[in-house]
Every structure is written in C-alpha cells, then in structure tokens.
Amino acid sequence: MEKPQIDIKYVAALARLEIRPEQAERLQNDLQNIVEYINELGELDLTGVEPTAHAAALSNVWREDEAGTPFDRDRMLANAPALMNGDLIRVPQVLPGEGMN
C-alpha cells in the first residue's frame, strides 16, 4: 500500500497545537508510518458488523435532576492561571479590536 500523505500543519491546526518547525518533519513521518500500519484494517470485510463504542452494555443511565454539593469556589479559582477582581477567571482577548484591561 502507498504511504499516506498527511498535512501535519493542517492536523495540528485542527488540534490547536503549536508544532515547532524542527518537530514537524519527524511528527509527520511518525504519523505517516503509523497510519500506513493502521491501514491494514482496510483488508477486512465489515459488511453487517455493528460498531462497538463502549465495552459496557449500559444504556440510559439516568439520575435525578437534583442540585448537589458544588465544589468550593475559592479552591476551584485557586487552579486558574489568571484572575480578575479576585473572583473571575481572566481570559485572553477573544475578539479582535482594541485591547481591554
């Protein structure tokens, strides 16, 4: 089978993953080798075979829609990389335009 061609920059962009230029070639090679290997699944006839999404044969696991004990707000905020006014998570600017503080 022909070696698959993968556009590593495109895939990395989908994954929101910065790849250093010196990494790109090696990762692309690794990926192409792995995909070449997994292409062997193409030789199986899977007509009529149902997919398995999950090992446990459970369905419709419901619970009562009740309010539970929430996590402590301060402890959750303590893990945030940046705060604003002490109790809001500061995020980088989302929309282009004038900077805000």
Partner: protein
C-alpha cells in the same frame, strides 16, 4: 519494636502486624517514608510524597484502633497512587507540564473508597505523560528506573506504581490500564497487576485518556492483596454513569477460600499469542513452564483462537487516540493548568498546548485528530469500532470453550532506557498481548512467573477472564503463585 521489615510485605501481613500491635500505623508509615527517602533518589518512583501528611493520617488511624474503632482491618496502611488518580489537595499532573500547577479540589471515587477503609493515599507516583507510553520515559519530570535493574525501564504507563511496589516503598499501589498500563509494568517489575472489568471501578477522578478503555486497578505483591484492594474500590458509582451496577465484593474472601487446585478448570491457550508472535526465548521458556505448572495443578488446557488479534494494535491506536484527542481538548490553559499567553485566545491555545504537552502526547493527539477529521472518520474511526466488535466476539467465542485464558504479557522482559524511544510504532507493537483485553472490556491479571535465564529480569504471565469474573481470576492467580 524490632526492626520493621518492609521488603515485599503484603497488605494482609501488615494488617495482621497492626492487629497484633507489633507496630503502629505511624511506625509503619514512617518506615516506608524513610525507605523512600533513602532509596527513591535512584528509583524515582515518586513525583511527590508528603511525609508529614501521611504521618498525620497514620496517627489518626492509631487513635481509632486504640479506641477500638478502626475503619477496617487495613486502617493505617499506605497505598501509593498513580498521579492521574486524583486526591483532594494533591497534585494531579499526570506527569505533564500542562497540569503541573494544579491541585485537585476533590477525591476520585477510588481514593475516597480507600480512605473510607483507612488506607492512606501515599504520595503521587510517576507515569508516562497522560498514561501514554510503555516505559515511563514519557514523563515530563523524571524517568523511573526498574528496581530489579536500574538500567532498565519499569514499563508503563503505571511504571511509578509498579516500581513503588517492587521497591517496597509501599505495600501496594493503584494504577490505571488503558491498553496494558497496569499489566505490562507489573510484569516488568515482578509484581501482580489486575485490570478489572471495564466499569468495575469508577473512573470518577481518573484523568481521562481513552474513556471507553480506561480502568483503575490494584498493583500488589499477591492475589489476596489485589482482592483486598478491589473489595475496597469496586462497585457502581453515581458519579460515573459507565460504572457497572453489579454487586462487587468478596474478592479477598474468594482468595482466602480458594481450593488450591485447578481441577475442573479449563484454561485456553490462544494460538495467535504463541505462534509467530515474536516472543523472546526467555519469555517463551517461562511461559511454557507456567503452562506446565497449571497443568500439574489440575487444569485442562485447550487451544483456542482469537483470530482478529493481529488487528488489535491498529484498532487500539485509532480508538484510544481518537478518544484522547477529544479528552485532552479540555487542557487549554483557560480555567486551570499552565497558561502560555499568546496574542489572543486562539494563539494562547496553540502556545499553551504546544509547550505543555510532550512529544508522545502530541503524536497521539495528532493521530486522533487525523482519524476523526472530515473525510477520514468512516475509514478509520468507524471501521476500528467495527473491528472492535469482531475482537470482542473472538473473546466470547473463546470463552465457550474455556473458563480462563493464559497468555504472555509482553514479548520481552523490561528493556533498557532509550532502546525503543526512536520508533513509536515499535513501542506500540510491544502492547500486542495486553490491548485486546481493553477493547473487549473483560478482566485480566499479570502474574509473576519466573525470571528470564539470560537477564535475570522478571517475566509475567497473563490470565484473562470473562467480564465480572475477577473472583475466579484471583483464585487462579493465588493457586498459581503458591
């Protein structure tokens, strides 16, 4: 108190020592912590160990025991915890830079259930980053050494947990197994590693790698300890809708009451795991000796077939990476974890993830993203899910002819550092004997079977059983190890 011997001591012996007042929990925990302080500089199993906190918990256990109200027979016994199984107030880095600053605000169900019996969560154990790897070399922080030969890897991804038990830094540890991550390091380090049935143990608080495959399990010196820990952690959990509601318990009693014979037991030998599977000669020798041993213990051996075994690695690396690429999308530097500020929000995502994840994690996120991407979903992900059905059916067919199966765990003994890092595909292929089990959802256990004549390294064998048959799996393990 006489010198406290910690080497290869199982939980049940220590529990007897506590009950007989041979030593206190505080003395026990202090002795383990001293041992870690003296020897872990070389092994590097622990990412973190808070001695004072563990001692405080041990003193509380001693006070309960003195008052005649211990939480269980095991109150005050330390258990090492893999760093992806969260415990309140503790780091849960998953050996990744991206989660290095995070402290868990809650207990995983497994840890909460250990605490409820008085077990003391003892330190945070090293692993391959986000459980992706077979050697612990993918940790962002340190390389754990195999206590049997420090020039060799302990296996992975639960390499820190396996090394912790093998080095007697704690009597037992919890690991997690997505494609063999409990069983392979257990085999490499010469201990027992149980992957319970999918859903037996709640995944609440287990940082997700591949949600349809991940399972927490015990890593111990013997079958009885595996039963004791499984008794503690197994059972349905409202916080994990994939946990099984089936009654769980009595595993330790099953081992205690085991007949000590394998008479009447049919043990299958899947031929695909033996012929042309690239077994190293030492592993083959020990496996053949194990087969003879189960025969001499009374088991009837039957050849069975798992015909789709050769596709298992391909199926696994599609399904596991697809699930991982989705699960790891949450690590974006916004709400928690390490953030690398960029020009704007999207640039921050790229930088945070680009700098926060190591090479193997990147490789798997990229592969998972690729197989799920538009135009490829049917060819890879859907196709892999269908072959997963065939693999599952292979096991169902095989269990019509036998009660359990016996197989190798790994093609080779523990390899040297750096031996397999250059070719990721070769590293993936070494998972061949362990990954089909995760795809099937059944349970399996890695059991020490002897030493490789050439290197002296431990060799494990694997018993596989149908879903929910852990009690029998542990009984057979106990009989085999006696």
């Amino acid at each position: 108190m006489a010198e406290l011997n910690l080497v290869n001591r199982p939980i049940h012996e220590l529990a007897a020592g506590l009950a007989a007042k041979e030593f206190s929990a505080a003395e026990l925990v202090a002795a383990y912590a001293d041992r870690v302080a003296a020897k872990d500089g070389e092994i590097k199993a622990f990412l973190k160990l808070d001695r004072e906190q563990a001692l405080k918990a041990a003193e509380a256990a001693d006070a309960r025991r003195a008052a005649g109200k211990p939480l269980s027979d095991y109150d005050g016994i330390p258990v090492g915890i893999k760093d992806c199984i969260v415990a309140e107030g503790e780091t849960c880095s998953c050996a990744s830079k991206i989660l290095a600053p995070v402290k868990s605000p809650y207990d995983s169900t497994a840890v909460a259930r250990l605490r409820a019996q008085g077990f003391i969560p003892f330190g945070r154990l090293n692993m391959d980053e986000f459980a992706m790897g077979s050697s612990c070399e993918n940790s962002a922080f340190q390389k754990t050494a195999n206590p049997c030969d420090v020039s060799r890897v302990p296996g992975g991804s639960s390499g820190g947990s396996a090394a912790c038990v093998a080095a007697s830094f704690a009597p037992a540890a919890l690991g997690s197994d997505t494609g063999g991550s409990i069983r392979q390091p257990a085999a490499f380090c010469g201990i027992v590693g149980l992957k319970p049935t999918y859903g037996r143990v709640s995944r609440y608080g287990l940082v997700a790698f591949a949600s349809s495959l991940d399972q927490i399990g015990p890593m111990t010196h013997d079958a009885l300890d595996a039963g004791i820990l499984l008794d503690a952690i197994a059972g349905g959990d409202p916080m994990d809708s994939t946990s099984l509601p089936n009654p769980a318990g009595g595993f330790a009693d099953a081992v205690r009451n085991s007949s000590g014979s394998l008479k009447g037991m049919k043990i299958g030998l899947p031929k695909e795991y033996f012929t042309g599977s690239g077994l190293a000669s030492g592993v083959e020798t020990i496996t053949q000796q194990a087969i003879e041993k189960v025969r001499s213990l009374g088991a009837e051996l039957v050849e069975v077939s798992l015909p789709h075994t050769r596709y298992a690695v391909a199926v696994y690396y599609i399904i596991a990476t697809a699930e991982a690429s989705a699960n790891l999308a949450r690590f974006d530097g916004i709400r928690y974890g390490d953030r690398k500020e960029g020009r704007d929000l999207v640039d921050t995502y790229f930088k945070t993830r680009g700098e926060g994840f190591g090479d193997e994690v990147k490789r798997r996120i990229l592969l998972g993203t690729y197989v799920l991407s538009s135009g490829y979903y049917d060819a890879y992900y859907l196709r892999a899910q269908k072959v997963r059905t065939l693999i599952r059916r292979d096991f169902e067919e095989a269990y019509k002819r036998c009660d359990l199966m016996l197989t190798p765990v790994t093609p080779t003994v523990a390899f040297k550092f750096g031996e397999k890092t250059s070719d990721p595909l070769q590293m993936y292929l070494s998972d061949i004997f362990t990954i089909a089990l995760n795809l099937s959802g059944n349970c399996g256990i890695s059991v020490p079977a002897g030493r490789d004549p050439e290197t002296g390294m431990p060799v494990g064998i694997q018993f596989l059983a149908p879903a929910l048959d852990e009690a029998r799996l542990l009984q057979v393990t106990d009989t085999f190890m006696r």
